[in-house]
């Protein structure tokens, strides 16, 4: 079951989030919808992210794969060089650099799709329509928790509180 509360200003929305979390609602069960990014103070609905770490990992991975690939292809064809090295780090360094960055860029896109939830959207979950200027809070709760959640939203100054069930 999903409960939704609409707020007209940021401060009352933050108050509602604090009250909900104080009453034991998990951040994972709460979502805030708005037509612009909402700056929340630290401790209120923190969303831990591993994007930076994953992006660095992605970049390094593609870099290593490129080095391996270039190394393999340089030695793939048996050239007689009179003992001179074939694999040149300096001349291929540009390619390693560019593909390292490409790895980072593509991993960023993948991380964005994953962490935003766009990649793993569950169709069944109802989504409130975002009205410009309105901040909507959606809470996933059981029937027993419904009354408590409604009270939290009301106390914080919600304009409208109600359940939503129809998937968008």
């Amino acid at each position: 079951m999903y409960l939704k509360g609409d707020f007209q200003d940021r401060s009352s929305a933050i108050r509602a989030l604090r009250e909900l979390q104080a009453d034991g609602f998990h951040a994972a069960d709460i979502d805030v919808f708005s037509d612009e990014p909402l700056e929340l103070p630290r401790g209120v609905l923190d969303r831990p992210s591993r994007m930076s770490f994953t992006v660095v990992t992605g970049a390094v991975t593609l870099c290593l794969l490129t080095i391996g690939f270039v190394y393999f292809t340089q030695y793939n064809y048996q050239l007689r060089t009179g003992g001179m090295p074939i694999f040149s780090f300096w001349a291929t360094g540009v390619i390693f650099y560019e593909l390292t960055m490409l790895g980072g860029i593509l991993t960023t896109l993948a991380c964005f799709l994953w962490e935003s939830g766009l990649f793993r959207r569950k169709r069944r979950i109802p989504v409130p329509v975002v009205v410009p200027g309105i901040i909507s809070i959606r809470i996933h709760c059981t029937e027993n928790q419904l009354e408590e959640a409604s009270r939290c939203l009301d106390r914080a100054g919600a304009n409208q509180v109600g359940t939503i069930g129809e998937p968008r």
């Binding site: 979502d31 805030v32 919808f33 708005s34 037509d35 612009e36 990014p37 909402l38 929340l40 609905l45 969303r47 992210s49 994007m51 930076s52 992006v55 690939f69 270039v70 292809t73 340089q74 793939n76 064809y77 040149s88 001349a91 291929t92 540009v94 390619i95 650099y97 560019e98 593909l99 960055m101 490409l102 980072g104 860029i105 593509l106 960023t108 896109l109 991380c111 964005f112 799709l113 962490e115 935003s116 939830g117 766009l118 959207r121 989504v127 329509v129 975002v130 410009p132 200027g133 968008r168």
Partner: protein, 438 residues
């Protein structure tokens, strides 16, 4: 004068910024038709070149690099408008960037698409360009990874991929909003592009994090791309090419021409779309100051480059230096100095003269100057041969001139089509926050 954006309600902001998307005026159709005709003529000329061979272009011994390479370097330089400027301003959290960024990012993507085509046009046998791509072919031969041509391929592909993602990500919230209001094919297009965006805090957080990381990476890529383009020249042991400062010199020139292109586009968008309330004199003033700064930096690099050659007095270098500054190419050289330094310095350096109009005039001068700079770099070094038995000059043919003209038309065409499909000013970023916007 329209009201300042900070006192306009959000619904009005959205209405104003979405207005150009609706309807097609006669003037729009006329301009699009003209640009399309020029672009198609350019494609026809390219087709003619493919059929008849590269001989229809003016490039021949000893000048093997002509307009195509000049255009390649020029357009890659223009592409630095968006991503670099947008990324720098995003990372430094400059609030005035908000109405500017998307216009700039779109320039990057289109300029890269156009610039990236020139090496393929220049190849002559364009249909075998895929030989540059590393794939296991039947003879187990791989491309030469030490070749600067392959550096270009990887650098430009990475930059184009990154720039497209960098343009696309902040577009998602806007197309999601548009999808709610559009009908027909536009609705389907916006819905597809919005990827199911709902405006949840998870999405906003992920978007902000991704944009910060992208800004940092795209900055590094943008710098490397034009450095790689510079290395195409400086890796050759040729007079006035073999220079260690070519990398930063090209990057400075690229940012310089990029800002000029952005100012011109902003000026046209402001006038044509009636965005006077959103693209304010404040934005033009800031960008004009940046342009002036880059003009001075460009002068510094140009002077350093030429002084070193002159002081060294190495005969082969001095031959090229001579034809550039006193000989056949001197008219281009001094026009370049006039356009790149004198015009911006006078029009933008004197505060009383600095306005939207003069910033636009200075930007046009800078684009002309920067194109000439590319010409001055590419052609004289090849035209002044080091063997007495080899001689010859370069004059572009109608094919090269047509293709060059068509690329400018293509840029305008792509921009017009983009601005008809997507808001050219980011709506969600342009929230009316009085304190920030000022």
């Amino acid at each position: 004068m329209a009201a300042a954006p900070e006192i306009v309600p959000y619904s009005q902001v959205r209405h104003d910024l979405w207005r150009p998307l609706a309807g097609v005026s006669r003037r729009y159709v006329a301009v699009v038709s003209l640009l399309l005709a020029i672009t198609l003529w350019g494609l026809f000329c390219w087709g003619y070149q493919l059929r008849e061979g590269i001989g229809v272009a003016g490039i021949r011994r000893p000048v093997f690099w002509g307009f195509y390479i000049v255009n390649f370097v020029f357009w890659i330089g223009i592409s630095h408008a968006g991503t670099l400027i947008s990324a720098i301003l995003r990372l430094t959290e400059a609030q005035w960037r908000k109405p500017v960024t998307r216009a700039a990012e779109a320039i990057t993507v289109f300029a890269l698409m156009i610039g990236g085509m020139f090496p393929i046009i220049h190849l002559g046998r364009a249909w075998i360009f895929y030989w540059l791509i590393p794939y296991p072919n039947s003879r187990l031969l791989w491309p030469n990874f030490r070749s600067p041509l392959l550096w270009d391929l990887t650098a430009i592909s990475t930059y184009l991929t990154g720039s497209t993602i960098y343009l696309f990500l902040p577009l998602i919230p806007d197309v999601a909003q548009l999808a709610q209001h559009a009908t027909g094919w536009r609705r389907r297009l916006y819905r597809t592009l919005s990827l199911g965006w709902t405006g949840s805090d998870r999405e906003w957080h992920a978007l902000e994090r991704a944009m910060k990381l992208m800004a940092a990476m795209i900055l590094a890529v943008a710098v490397s791309v034009h450095t790689v383009v510079a290395w195409d020249f400086s890796m050759a042991i040729a007079p006035m090419w073999h220079s260690t400062i070519f990398g930063p010199y090209f990057v400075v020139g690229a940012i310089f021409s990029g800002i000029a292109a952005l100012l011109i586009v902003m000026s046209i968008v402001r006038k044509a779309m009636h965005f006077e309330a959103y693209l304010t004199p404040h934005h033009f003033d800031n960008l004009a100051k940046l342009l002036l700064l880059m003009s001075l930096l460009w002068l510094y690099f140009s002077f350093a480059e030429n002084l070193t050659v002159w002081y060294g007095n190495e005969p082969k270098e001095m031959n090229v230096f001579g034809v550039r500054t006193r000989g056949t190419f001197s008219i281009y050289f001094w026009t370049m100095v006039f356009c790149n330094f004198v015009v911006p310095f006078v029009l933008l350096g004197i505060k009383r003269l600095r306005s939207i109009r003069t910033a636009t005039i200075a930007s046009v001068a800078v684009l002309i100057g920067m194109w000439l700079e590319r010409y001055i770099i590419v052609v004289p070094t090849l035209a002044v041969t080091r063997l007495s038995s080899v001689s010859g000059g370069y004059s572009p043919t109608w094919v090269e001139i047509s293709i060059t003209t068509a690329t400018f038309a293509a840029m305008g065409l792509l921009y017009l089509l983009f601005s008809k499909l997507f808001p050219i000013v980011s709506v969600w970023e342009f929230e009316p926050h009085p304190a920030e916007e000022d």
